[in-house]
């Protein structure tokens, strides 16, 4: 199990470098890597996006499907987020193995979007109590070079923002598609910022190398108005209360930068 030696040496170097505010790839502790967002890439989807942070690449696609509402919210549509780890994205992913990492990723991305109430799900109702739109948002991890959560959240968000929805109408008691398309009922623009704790420093947007040696990470999602709408500490280390407070403060700052990127990408798409 000498494979544990290399990360330990590397961790020492990363921590030493961070004492002077630097990182192995030249970034400052609060810098994101280069962010690229490309929307509308999958014409057959109702919305799609490929987001990259550094070399991490995630594709997201949105598909509308007619389905049944949940009994307790009979007049609202349903958003379902899935995450798939394509095996070529990392030598560690095995084909067909359901993984708690993929489940956590899907659920963290889901909460960031859902809790911000970015979609007016009441507009996704077709026949109250009977038929609603199911919005499938699936993220596919294509290249894993660190910080999957933020990249997947960006891809999912921008796929939704650039989606249009099919128009449905009732003919007798059957639901038919009119063939027209409606704009998405978008109400917010939530973004997610992840920091890694390594030693006693916080690293915004950890790279793959940094993730291999981190103590833990913390991800925070913010609404446009600056409110927090989701948070997740991950991995087996801990943060002090003060570190948590500091991390959320940094994340709040960075969220505005990320949101600007999103707005730019969306405007390009229009």
């Amino acid at each position: 199990m000498s494979e544990r030696i290399v990360p330990l040496v590397r961790k020492k170097q990363i921590i030493e470098l961070s004492d002077s505010g630097k990182r192995t790839d030249g970034r400052s502790l609060t810098d994101y890597r280069k962010i690229t967002i490309q929307t509308g890439v999958i014409e057959k989807a109702d919305g799609s996006s490929i987001a990259m942070i550094g070399d991490t690449r995630v594709a997201a696609g949105v598909k509308f499907e007619i389905g049944d509402p949940f009994p307790d919210i009979p007049n609202e549509g349903v958003m379902q987020v899935g995450a798939e780890f394509v095996p070529f994205a990392s030598p560690d992913f095995e084909p067909g193995k359901p993984d708690e990492v993929a489940v956590e990723l899907a659920r963290v991305v889901d909460r960031g979007l859902r809790e911000s109430k970015m979609i007016d799900t009441s507009k996704l109702c077709i026949v109250p109590g009977k038929k609603v739109w199911i919005v499938h948002v699936d993220v596919y991890i294509l290249d894993h070079c660190g910080n999957l959560i933020d990249t997947a959240a960006l891809a999912a968000l921008t796929a939704l923002l650039t989606s249009t929805m099919p128009e449905a109408c009732l003919e007798g008691d059957e639901v038919k598609l009119t063939g027209k398309r409606l704009p998405m009922p978008i109400c917010d623009l939530p973004v997610n910022v992840t920091l890694a704790k390594i030693g006693d420093k916080m690293f915004v947007d950890p790279s793959f190398e940094e993730e291999e040696v981190l103590d833990c990470r913390i991800s925070v999602a913010f609404k446009e108005n600056g409110m927090l709408c989701a948070m997740q500490k991950g991995e087996s280390g801990y943060l002090t209360v003060e570190e948590v407070l500091r991390a959320v403060e940094i994340a709040k700052d960075k969220s505005q930068e990320l949101r600007k990127k999103v707005t730019e990408a969306i405007n390009v798409a229009k």
Binding site: M1, E104, C229, M231, K233, Y238, V248
Partner: protein, 247 residues
């Protein structure tokens, strides 16, 4: 989750639907050593939430190639009984149960001296018999005690509690009804003597100031849980004979 019209979960003078004040936790009863076939176990009643935790280990890792050369491998399995919630639940683990198993494991691991038991496994099995809010907090807090009962050396106990926002007010230790109707839920797990946050999650909407306030309330709440955990340990080891079972 239905967060629609609910009539008054908090009265004008700050009393909640179950009679508690906003910063008051529910009655919590911990008990160690309740199972026969484990290395350690604990039972918790946390309001109406009822959970059994059993620890197996340190024991040989199986399959062997998952063993770690320099420390014990910790696994947690959080499961809800089919009858523990309002609607019948299929026994197949849901995605929620998979995620919670992961964050619970990560919340407990920093407390365990895993380096004392290389190449072994420590398995933490959690069965929620009845869920009435805060099941992950109750699970983590009880699992700490089950680890103690198993004689596994720990840096500190892990104590856990949640703060929610209900009708615009921050309240400690949300129960199910408040969670479903509430605007947010924020559970934390904490090792008090280490000032170590080992679990932190949030959903819902809160301002940055509310977040700061919540952190204060969570710290205070975890200390209260910590006190109850310590009392349970003391009463368990005070008894000469093995502790009687729950109820």
């Amino acid at each position: 989750m239905d967060k629609s019209t609910v009539t008054k979960l908090i009265s004008d003078d700050g009393i909640r639907c179950d009679g508690r004040k906003v910063d008051e936790i529910r009655p919590i009863k911990f008990q160690l050593g309740v199972l026969k076939n484990t290395d350690g176990s604990a039972y918790v009643e946390w309001g109406r939430t009822k959970i059994l935790v059993g620890v197996m280990g340190p024991r040989e890792s199986h399959p062997k190639h998952l063993a770690l050369a320099d420390r014990a491998r910790i696994d947690a399995f959080y499961r809800m009984a089919s009858f523990s919630v309002e609607e019948w639940k299929s026994p197949a683990p849901s995605r929620r149960e998979v995620e919670l198993s992961k964050v619970i494991r990560e919340a407990l691991q920093p407390a365990v001296f895993v380096e004392y038991f290389p190449r072994t496994s420590i398995d933490i099995f959690i069965e929620v018999l009845q869920a009435d809010g805060s099941t992950r907090c109750a699970s983590i807090s009880a699992a700490s005690l089950a680890l103690v009962d198993a004689g596994i050396p720990m840096r500190d106990l892990v104590s856990s509690i949640a703060v929610g926002k209900v009708e615009g007010k921050l309240v400690l230790d949300v129960q199910d009804k408040e969670d479903k109707a509430g605007e947010s839920d924020m559970p934390m797990a904490y090792m008090p003597t280490k000032n170590a946050v080992t679990l932190l999650q949030m959903d819902g909407q809160i301002t940055y100031e509310e977040f700061q306030q919540s952190m204060e309330m969570l710290k205070k709440g975890c200390l209260e849980v910590y006190k109850k955990q310590r009392e349970a340990i003391e009463s368990h080891f005070k008894v000469v004979e093995p502790a009687s079972e729950e109820a």
